[in-house]
Amino acid sequence: MPFIPHTEADVAEMLAAIGASSIDALFDEIPAALRIQSLAGIPDALTEMQVGRLMQSRAQRDGRPLNFIGAGAYEHHIPAAVWAIVSRGEFYSAYTPYQAEASQGTLQLLYEYQTMMASLTGMQVSNASLYDGASALAEACLMAVRAHRKSKSARILVPAAVNPIYLEVARAIAEGQNLKFDIVPFAMGEGEPGKGTTQPSSLEQYRGQDITAVVVQQPNFFGLLEDVDAITDWAHANNALAIAVVNPLSLAILKPPGEWGAKGVDIAVGDGQPLGVPMSSGGPYFGFMTTRMEHVRQMPGRIIGRTLDLDGKPGFTLTLQAREQHIRRSKATSNICTNQGLLVTAATIHMSLLGSTGLENVAAASQQQTRKLVEALTRIKGVKLAFSGPRFHEAVLQLDRNVAGVIEALAKRNVIGGFDLTPRYPELGNALLVCATEMRTDEDIATYAAALTQVMAEAMS
């Protein structure tokens, strides 16, 4: 019996202690009519060796194609030490540190994480994680409504250049509480400065209205750098809070949200995946959230504090729990309970191993490889660059044909060619979002260019 240690003698002794005739008798309070006799749809058990063979064959079927997608999940080098430590049973198989004295390892690590994340984003306080970047944006919008005591509208301005899937998630999570999202377009005119980014002038139609918060993503979904100072200042001048969505790796080289505009943003969120978390088909990742001290009691999620024990020795504990569902129930800041502790463990080790120097080098190398990728691909007939402004490590290409067909044809050549923007941005035509991190060598880029050259040379399907 897999994972069940009982011998026949154990069972007999235990039933005798209970005074039950059989294990089945332990279920005698369940109405007999409801009891099931078998689960015909479940296959027979496999041994570890058999399930290993099955999983190997499934994995090999998917192979390891060359990846050029970003769009919120990025392929970076992860030091071997990171997951060797994360996989230690003391981290892997512990739970939420409810018993602080028996969880000082997890608690101290989370305190170190909060310190690193607050510093990286230039904010004062951090929580101990949310589920992912998308749900973190939803929580930030809900938090803004609680924190902004004067605004009654629960209206949030969201640029169209913010990750559109994040917006879909924010709608699904927050619209039940009557939040309203207004979409702000990005500059599209030929020759217009800042093409592909959000112009402060496009916010002007909202001047004087009751707006709770303005969201800005840096870099935006197209990889372009937004004029974050102007947008943050516009928000504050119009009595709105400013919410930043950021890639934490980019903050090694880009101005942190705490320094945007004259006052800095009020809440910064994002997905922590670029910090030591593998892509693994989309999860588990972790969402991060940092804010100003004045808003800490409106922040959702676990928060760790340093305090003293009975002997006056420093130690760490869950704090500000009066915000949380297990205390406040229907009046809690969020329903979140379990978050993404193990991924935060990975990120904390990753940030410690790379330090600021390492993160700067990875960020700059990713930016450089993307520049080379764009140069190589835009030399191909039928491929042009959509937006030429300053960018981090992603770019939008426009093709002379259907993007989905090109992606499929590239996949047959073992190249994952990019994210198809056409369903969500039809105004961009046949648009493809591409990314090269430090993991893509010059040879990888040449391989992609050769494959795309072949595909584009073929007759249109």
Binding site: M1, F3, D24, L26, L34, I36, L39, A40, I42, D44, A45, V51, G52, A59, D62, P79, F91, A94, Y95, T96, P97, A102, G105, T106, Q108, E112, T115, M116, L120, Y131, A134, V169, A172, Q177, L225, A252, I253, K255, D271, P278, G282, G283, P284, V296, T307, D309, Q325, R329, S334, I336, C337, T338, L343, T345, M351, L353, L354, G355, A365, P390
Partner: protein, 482 residues
Amino acid sequence: MSEPLIFTHSRPGRSAPGQYPEAVAADVPDNLRRRKRAALPEVSELQAVRHFTRLSQLNFSIDTHFYPLGSCTMKYNPRACNAFAMLPEFLGRHPYGPASAGQGFLECMYELQEMLKEVTGMKGVSLTPMAGAQGEFAGVAMMRAYHKARNDLARTEIIVPDAAHGTNPATATMCGCTVVEIPSLANGDIDVDALKQAVGPKTAGIMLTNPSTLGVFERRIKEVAQIVHEAGGLLYYDGANLNAILGKVRPGDMGFDVIHMNLHKTFSTPHGGGGPGSGAVGVGQRLLPFMPIPLVGKDNEKFRWLDERDLPQSIGRLSAFMGNAGVLLRAYVYMRMLGRHGMHRVAEFAALNANYMLAKLKKAGFDAAYPERRASHEFIITLKRQARDLGVNAMDFAKRLLDYGFHAPTTYFPLLVPECLLIEPTETETKQDLDAFIDALVAIQAEAEQDAAKVKGAPYTLPVRRLDDVRAAKQLDLTYQP
């Protein structure tokens, strides 16, 4: 035993240069460039490895200690599940890679959906919610979407028993509903008369855990289902305690319309020091159109994502991709290793362990909260008498247990049982370990009778003694300031 903060190991100019590429100039406009470096540590690879290894050693965990944390199902997390979920092809797969290049992964997800349907008796399963609370959110959002689609707009009340997890009422609020709480009877069952009074034209539904958080099976469940359905409401099953009934009775057969499962409990994916979890949801016929996307579908032996084009009435997306995929792979491996006959053994041996501990503790003089009832996979001891007579409360017993080398049970939950310990041994523990835990509780009882102060001062052998939570909340120290 303690370990300094990583920042105190740091020295300017030290680093682990084997872990990152050589520097190239970043191309950033002057006004968008970072000026002051973040305060990240500057340490060698060995320093980092030693620091975090030492931190890990300050934790209790399933791999090192018996961890009978009630309502959390801290069972053994098989290493095979981790190893096979972390095959390089799975780790390296981009979530937006085309389905044609991810058939192996998608096949696992499709089969996981099918297996979860079978064990719960539901008609559809979506794997996207990233934790139990997000599964709850999805469930209540689907109930609301169902009523809305029928233009039944007044249904905004969610009924919740007083024994419910805090996430239940918090979720109802997040979905824009109001909460109506109903009491439990002295025998642990729901007060059905109170339920009859509570239902009406405003009832969106009820959220129930069965077996309940009181550690007993809700015997009148069919009657409860009938009352709620006749009033026009739906039934939500909180899967926190699914481990107790796996392969024995199915939520779908009890009359539930929607459920969430905590894969990190019942299906043994790791708790990770507080996540990642996974809160897959299952639905009956009526809620199929509203499931969160994406799902995995199968056409002509090929697997593909189902999205808003397939489910135009979906409540939408709850994560940027498809939830905690790596956790789902672990649950898949676990279910394949258990197989058809392993499922019901989970519930059987979880119930055997819980009922055995309950019987032995009763015999040793402890007070069960529901002495006439069978335990489910967990049970409650109340230390009200010890608190009154000896001045030693549930928290004191919990802290002293740490000194004896056991993680404490859940304390002070459910809220309606005073001075309670909610004890869940799980099926993966041996009789020897259960006996050792019982012996420890008996020994602590003797200590409490002879020297209450000793128990009240515990723990003594952990990295820290009892921490000042009031100071933590009043003098906020949330980040290190050098």
